[in-house]
């Protein structure tokens, strides 16, 4: 079981992309405004999404150039997700620019409907979100498809669909294949989400008109593959969350004085933060490995993704929990952004498969079978 050579560093282009995304988010997506928007129940900032997607070109990173994309890849998209995680940005990027694009790329891209949709996504002109539960995991049984009642009219209910409210069109897995459905012809019932920055909805289709993009077998294979890609990139979002939590906590503990000294000079806390730093450093290696393996189409990519998910979920949650605890009373307040990170981190640990699910995948890939 040899591991392929991976490139775990960031290239100069990737660092440039990072600073563009970071400065956009610093200007337009500070924690106070994220919270203010979330409180309205409509956390999305379509203008921010447009700038990120179209002006910076992040929407088309995974789309090949001949389909109007940037022809970049998973390594670049991972950097964007790191920054989005660091800002708990409420933009439908993981769902719309990663999962949806991966599914479409798994279909026949020569087909005019698929190609047209990819072009619109890449240009930032359309937000397309897959109507699947956020918890759907690679390797897990796919959800029961909605029913094609004839003529591409779809009927069925899908729960815990992330970012449906931000979508122009939905990708729906029906018994007759993959369909694209205008969001306007579906009924969305917003749920109250644990993570305020990634809203969930129940999507109800009642003979909603869909355009078929792929047959059932192709659709299922495309979705299965796309879940691996999205899970791999989610690790980078989790890295970004963990990094913000660590940095904020260090800053706070250096400034906060109790017992006539900075709280951060107490060894019990120094050791906790040093351990957290180790976790973050290792999460970076794991997340980068997953992004690189996906980018190069490495044969061991599914294993590398499972390793990254098994590891990074826990690191993000631990970092957010430590952030709340070590901020003391402030950490429990609604005003301080720590809770946004905790909620995102915890929700992310369920998204696209739990750490336990991914360890099960590791058992398969590494041939370490259960008793």
């Amino acid at each position: 079981m040899t591991a392929s050579t991976v490139d775990l560093l960031y290239s100069e282009t990737e660092e440039e992309l990072r600073s563009a995304v970071r400065s956009l988010l610093a200007d337009r997506c500070d924690p106070a405004s994220v919270l203010a928007r979330a409180e309205t129940g409509d956390p999305y900032d379509p203008a921010l999404s447009r700038t990120l997607g179209a002006d910076i070109g992040a929407a088309g990173l995974l789309v090949p150039e001949k389909l109007g994309g940037a022809g970049a890849g998973h390594r670049e998209a991972a950097v964007v997700l790191e920054e989005l995680g660091r800002a708990v940005a409420p933009v439908p990027y993981l769902t719309g620019s990663v999962l949806a694009v991966e599914i479409l790329l798994g279909c026949d891209t020569e087909s005019p409907d698929v190609a047209a949709l990819l072009r619109e996504i890449a240009g930032g002109r359309r937000t397309c979100v897959p109507a699947v539960p956020l918890t759907l995991a690679p390797g897990a049984p796919l959800p029961r498809p909605v029913h094609d009642v004839g003529g591409g009219r779809l009927t069925g209910t899908l729960t815990s669909v992330a970012d449906a409210a931000a979508a122009d069109v939905l990708l729906v897995l029906a018994d007759t294949g993959l369909h694209v459905v205008p969001a306007a012809s579906a009924t969305l019932t917003a749920a109250v989400p644990l993570d305020l920055t990634r809203p969930l909805a129940t999507v109800t289709l009642d003979a909603a008109p869909g355009t078929r993009l792929a047959d059932a077998a192709t659709a299922r294979a495309a979705l299965a593959g796309a879940l691996i890609g999205a899970a791999g990139l989610l690790a980078s979002e989790q890295l970004g969350i963990a990094e913000w939590c660590l940095t904020e906590t260090v800053t706070h503990l250096r400034a906060r004085h109790q017992f006539n000294r900075p709280v951060g000079s107490f060894q019990a806390l120094k050791h906790r933060l040093a351990r957290l730093w180790l976790d973050v450093a290792s999460a970076r290696a794991a997340a980068r490995a997953a992004a690189d393996a996906l980018a190069t189409g490495a044969a061991d990519a599914p294993l590398t993704v499972a390793v990254a998910q098994a590891h990074c979920s826990g690191v993000a949650v631990r970092a957010a929990e430590e952030c709340v605890q070590l901020h003391g009373g402030i950490g429990m307040t609604w005003e301080h952004p720590a809770h946004l990170y905790l909620k995102r981190a915890k929700a992310d640990s369920l998204a696209l498969g739990t750490a336990g699910h991914h360890r099960g995948l590791v058992a398969d890939f590494a041939e370490l079978p259960a008793p």
């Binding site: 120094k270 450093a281 970076r284 590494a366």
Partner: protein
């Protein structure tokens, strides 16, 4: 030559010349190693004439891989780890030309093994509190050393030692220290085996009684020993993590093999732990790989300070799991006879040995607690704890 930047191609050309002139298959091991040293391919970042070529340090890996592929013998770095990892970089940084010429070649060739006479019964983590005295003899100019060192690995095989001793007890503890190169065969050096939890005596107590060290074997200025020692300690901690391991290399390998080969031992609880540790070992491997790539790109990251901590914890958890997995066999131990091994070797030993020996990983070379302090202060910039021993003369400290 010194002015030009050595590239991988230059080095590979030199490796090919070396292999052509001294085919490994027909050249005696010692002759090959001497030729390799003299060709500057021992440690390529060292200066010319001292086993190197002033090349970037990261290129050593290129040379090593090429030589290994050609079946060339290595200088058994595990046997001479203290010399290579600690004595050599310190001698290079602080030694006189004469000292460098005298010591570096036999050190690299493994003809002279080194040990580290730092820790004392009263000075472990707080190494600067050490009490071993070195007093200048008025007539000969020699130093006369008295004191006791402890936990000294390889003292029984060593020809030379790096030694720190107190030369001025009236100064604060970090100041009155001087660094020496000590002849382990000198009269007054007594090495006594110190048996450890594995049953072996891999380390020793060393008693120094009226040991004479000529002033030419002093490293760095009188009273500057702490600065010199910091170079040694820094090198001690970065020595780890730079090497490349394959997936499922290291401690996880025997456990995974046992799991696959002996289904009867499998339980659900052990399966969960095995998978958790397998993932952590893989992530640690990737973190080490990332560190290596950063170094090779000339952008060293702080990850190095953490690798020792990670490996210590992983080695301990994995070896503990291994003993449990073996069930009844885990109750057995291969051999409690007191032995004095030349090297520490985790492979080819039983799980009980690995479990016990791994306990040292979080103590030797700086405890995990001390390393966490270092990460917190140097990497994260957290404040130091208030301390009152910095300005007090050593002789007035509580010990």
């Amino acid at each position: 030559m010194t002015a030009t930047v050595m590239t991988a191609e230059h080095l590979l050309a030199r490796v090919r010349d070396l292999l052509a002139a001294h085919p490994p298959a027909t050249t005696p091991r010692a002759d090959f190693l001497r030729a390799r040293f003299d060709a500057g391919l021992a440690w390529v970042h060292f200066p010319e004439g001292l086993g190197g070529l002033d090349a970037p340090r990261a290129l050593q890996a290129v040379v090593d891989a090429e030589l290994e592929a050609a079946g060339a013998p290595d200088n058994d770095p595990r046997r001479i780890g203290i010399g290579l990892g600690m004595a050599a970089p310190t001698i290079l940084a602080y030694g006189t030309d004469e000292q460098k010429r005298r010591f570096l070649r036999p050190l690299w060739l493994g003809e002279e093994v080194w040990c580290q006479l730092f820790s004392e019964p009263g000075a472990g983590s707080d190494l600067a509190a050490l009490a071993t005295r070195a007093v200048r003899d008025e007539e000969g100019g020699d130093w006369v050393v008295d004191g006791q060192k402890v936990w000294t690995s390889s003292a029984h095989t060593a020809r030379w030692a790096i030694l720190i001793a107190r030369t001025d007890p009236t100064l604060p503890k970090h100041q009155g220290i001087t660094y020496f190169l000590c002849d382990m065969h000198a009269p007054g050096v007594e090495v006594r085996p110190l048996r450890q939890i594995t049953g072996e005596a891999e380390f020793n107590e060393v008693f120094l009684t009226g040991v004479r060290i000529p002033d030419t074997h002093r490293l760095g200025a009188v009273g500057q020993g702490w600065a010199v020692a910091r170079t040694t300690l820094m090198n001690e901690r970065v020595a780890i993590g730079g090497m490349r391991v394959p997936r499922e290399g290291g401690m996880i390998a025997p456990v995974a093999a046992t799991w696959r080969e002996r289904p009867a031992l499998r339980t659900h609880a052990l399966h969960q732990r095995l998978l958790e540790l397998w993932v952590e070992a893989e992530v640690a491997r990737l973190t080490g790989e990332r560190l290596r790539q950063q170094l090779a790109a000339g952008r060293p990251g702080p990850e190095g300070s953490g690798m020792k901590l990670t490996f210590a914890r992983l080695n301990q958890e994995i070896s503990a799991l291994e003993v449990e997995l073996l069930a009844e066999e885990g109750l057995l131990y291969e051999d409690w006879t007191l032995r004095r091994p030349e090297i520490v070797d985790f492979t080819g030993r039983d799980a009980g040995y690995r479990y016990l020996r791994a306990k040292g990983n979080s103590i030797e070379g700086g405890t995990s607690e001390i390393l966490l302090n270092i990460v917190a202060e140097r990497v994260l910039g957290l404040p130091t704890e208030p301390r009152d021993d910095k300005d007090t003369p050593w002789k007035d400290l509580l010990r």
